[in-house]
């Protein structure tokens, strides 16, 4: 088993211990659920932005669509959690398709702005489509999941559902990265023209990335909705999309583990520093700037650099050819 896979299993096992360790504190467990739901959305953004290089600042809109879809299906249409959440995820994926397709010809700033526009329009719809969403008053009474007669009401138990989803999402994302589709997306990010000259249908992969980002965010949003049981449109703003972006950057844009770490860090840090709230707030923005200047690969990149430093020297097979005088070329 590779080192990365072993590390992942250890992390999952450690996470599984959380509800036991934090048994007494609903507050902490709720934060863990929050971090988990966010990390799913951030992993989705990691596929779209980290792998495929498509600058999307509308991830919060998919998050909200997932939340409201699942909320509505369970409160108004009589569906249960296990039916509603996958349906919400599918709806978000479909919206991802609808957004991704027109955005195909756009790149860079144009794409970023189109996704911002999509996000703002979505939020306005959530606020104003009162019949469906109850507007700014929010949607309440979103039920907890139930298995037969037993309702999964505690944060601790719900956390396991979230953990399962985070693990599944992480597995899918890392499988993508390690195989042909992930390489295709990264090729598009690095040089789209060359990628198509190498047989990669950029259109198809960009749309795929949007669909996946939508699906992941929709899942995260739905999971969160059933945990906190009340949602309102304020949470699904452009600022929230920016937070997802920052979580991804800090964790490491093309790293699955980074997405999770970034989400967890930026969920817990505000709470941990709450006593120092005023100073923390100032540091947050400065930290983003410092990060992008000095650690553009995020924490994941930092970890990789540390590991590389302390690992045994790489075998001659991977030595940089630049170090050798060209006369010795075989």
């Amino acid at each position: 088993m590779s080192r990365a896979n072993a590390g992942a299993l250890v992390a999952i096992a450690a996470a599984a211990a959380i509800p036991v360790v934090f048994r007494g504190s609903d507050y902490l467990l709720n934060l863990c659920v929050l971090a988990g739901a966010y990390s799913i959305a951030v992993m989705g953004l990691g596929i779209l932005l980290g792998y495929a290089g498509q600058m999307s600042l509308g991830q919060a809109a998919f998050f909200g669509i997932g939340a409201y879809a699942s909320g509505w299906l369970t409160t108004q249409a009589g569906w249960n959690f296990w039916e509603a959440v996958p349906a919400a995820m599918a709806l978000s994926a479909l919206v991802g398709l609808c957004v991704g397709y027109p955005c195909l010809r756009l790149s860079g700033h144009y794409l970023a702005l189109a996704t911002i526009g999509f996000g703002i329009i979505t939020q306005l719809v959530l606020v104003n489509w009162k019949a469906f969403t109850n507007g700014s008053d929010g949607m309440s009474g979103i039920p907890a999941p139930a298995i037969g007669a037993y309702t999964i009401d505690s944060y601790g138990a719900y956390f396991y559902i979230v953990l399962a989803c985070v693990s599944a999402g992480a597995y899918v994302s890392s499988r993508i990265k390690a195989t042909r589709p992930g390489r295709a997306m990264q090729a598009i990010r690095e040089n789209e023209l060359a990628a198509s000259a190498m047989g990669i249908d950029a259109t198809r992969y960009k749309i795929l990335a949007f669909v996946l980002a939508g699906a992941y965010a929709g899942l995260g949003g739905a999971l969160l909705a059933h945990s906190i049981k009340f949602i309102s449109p304020d949470s699904y703003s452009f600022d929230a999309s920016v937070v997802f972006l920052v979580m991804l950057i800090i964790g490491g844009a093309s790293s699955v583990g980074g997405a999770i770490v970034g989400a967890a860090l930026l969920t817990f840090l505000p709470e941990v520093l709450r006593p120092l709230k005023n100073s923390y707030i100032m540091v947050y923005g400065a930290a983003v700037i410092a990060m992008i200047i000095f650690m553009p690969q995020g924490l994941a990149g930092l970890l990789q650099a540390v590991i590389a430093r302390f690992s045994p020297p790489p075998d001659p097979g991977s030595e940089t050819i630049a170090a050798r005088p060209s006369a010795q070329r075989s």
Partner: protein, 305 residues
């Protein structure tokens, strides 16, 4: 709903006024983009910050860092002070958020400007609190009457100042050496450098100029709305949309795009739906991106293979 020409004229003036604000902010975007190839996501906060600073010196009573201030300085002195402070701030912004990243492509710089935006908003909240503040209007009257037509003097001021600035900018760009250097730098930095143009300085000047456009917008628009840490955000996004509608990188395009969005938004908000007013700018934007991504005046740019 009847098409009352007086009402329409008032809407038109309102539309031009808010459109002028969008135009000024859009101009700021376009100038920085032309100079360094990056969109400044903090542009809106350069509208917000000077408003707060101005209030600190203008208002009868305002809390800064929890301490009540009653400076109440004369408005012209305050405006000058704010301009000086924002100039210094622009130079700082250039040095810290742009300069270290200037060779790293556009995405790191975009993220850096997002960081600046977060920093500024939180700084504003920390310094002035979360309550919306009201900006003392330079005018005593709420409206001026031109036979039946009620016009806000602030709207007229906005339009007048914007028109003046646009003329000033035209003269600067077309008739002065500095303006020519800015144009040269924007078109081809390497060649500009080879011609002896101090590119670093021109870039810094562009940042300052752009920030000052935002500053003036802020001072103009603050009396119309209340001042909050969020006020810059939506204005900037719409201005960004406006610059794309006009043709990204195109200066007259930015102005026309801003005015267009301001007018359409105002009329749309009145005749169609006030709840979705904010969406109008983005619907226009998305329509433009789908149909004619190069905007009204832009040129199609193909990638060189």
């Amino acid at each position: 709903m009847h098409f009352d020409s007086i009402a329409n004229l008032q809407l038109l003036i309102n539309g031009f006024a808010i459109g002028s604000i969008y135009a000024l902010v859009a101009l700021g975007f376009v100038l920085i983009y032309n100079a360094v190839g990056v969109v400044n996501f903090a542009q809106g906060d350069f509208v917000m910050l000077p408003s707060y600073v101005a209030i600190s010196f203008l208002a009868p009573s305002v809390a800064v860092f929890g301490v009540q201030m009653h400076w109440q300085l004369p408005p012209l002195a305050v405006y000058l002070l704010v301009i000086v402070l924002m100039t210094g701030f622009a130079l700082l912004f250039n040095r810290i958020a742009y300069y270290p990243l200037r060779d790293r492509g556009w995405m790191p710089v975009v993220i850096s400007t997002i960081g600046v935006s977060i920093f500024l908003r939180n700084f504003a909240q920390l310094t002035w609190g979360s309550q919306p503040l009201s900006f003392p209007s330079p005018f005593t009257a709420d409206t001026i009457d031109f036979g039946g037509l009620h016009v806000r003097p602030q709207d007229l001021l906005i339009i007048a100042v914007t028109a003046t600035l646009i003329m000033f900018q035209y003269v600067l760009f077309e008739k002065t050496s500095l303006g020519k250097q800015m144009q040269a730098t924007a078109q081809d930095r390497t060649t500009a450098r080879l011609l002896g143009i101090r590119v670093g300085r021109i870039v810094a000047f562009t940042f300052v100029y752009s920030v000052l456009l935002g500053t003036i917008s802020g001072l103009l628009v603050a009396p119309v709305f209340t001042v909050t840490k969020e006020m810059g955000g939506l204005i900037a996004l719409k201005a960004f949309a406006a610059s794309i509608v006009g043709g990204f990188g195109n200066i007259p395009g930015a102005i026309i795009g801003g005015l267009t969005i301001g007018v359409v938004e105002t009329f749309g908000g009145f005749y169609i739906s006030s709840a979705y007013t904010d969406a109008i700018a983005f619907v226009i934007l998305i329509a433009v991106l789908l149909v004619r991504p190069q905007g009204l005046f832009g040129e199609r740019v193909a990638e060189k293979a």
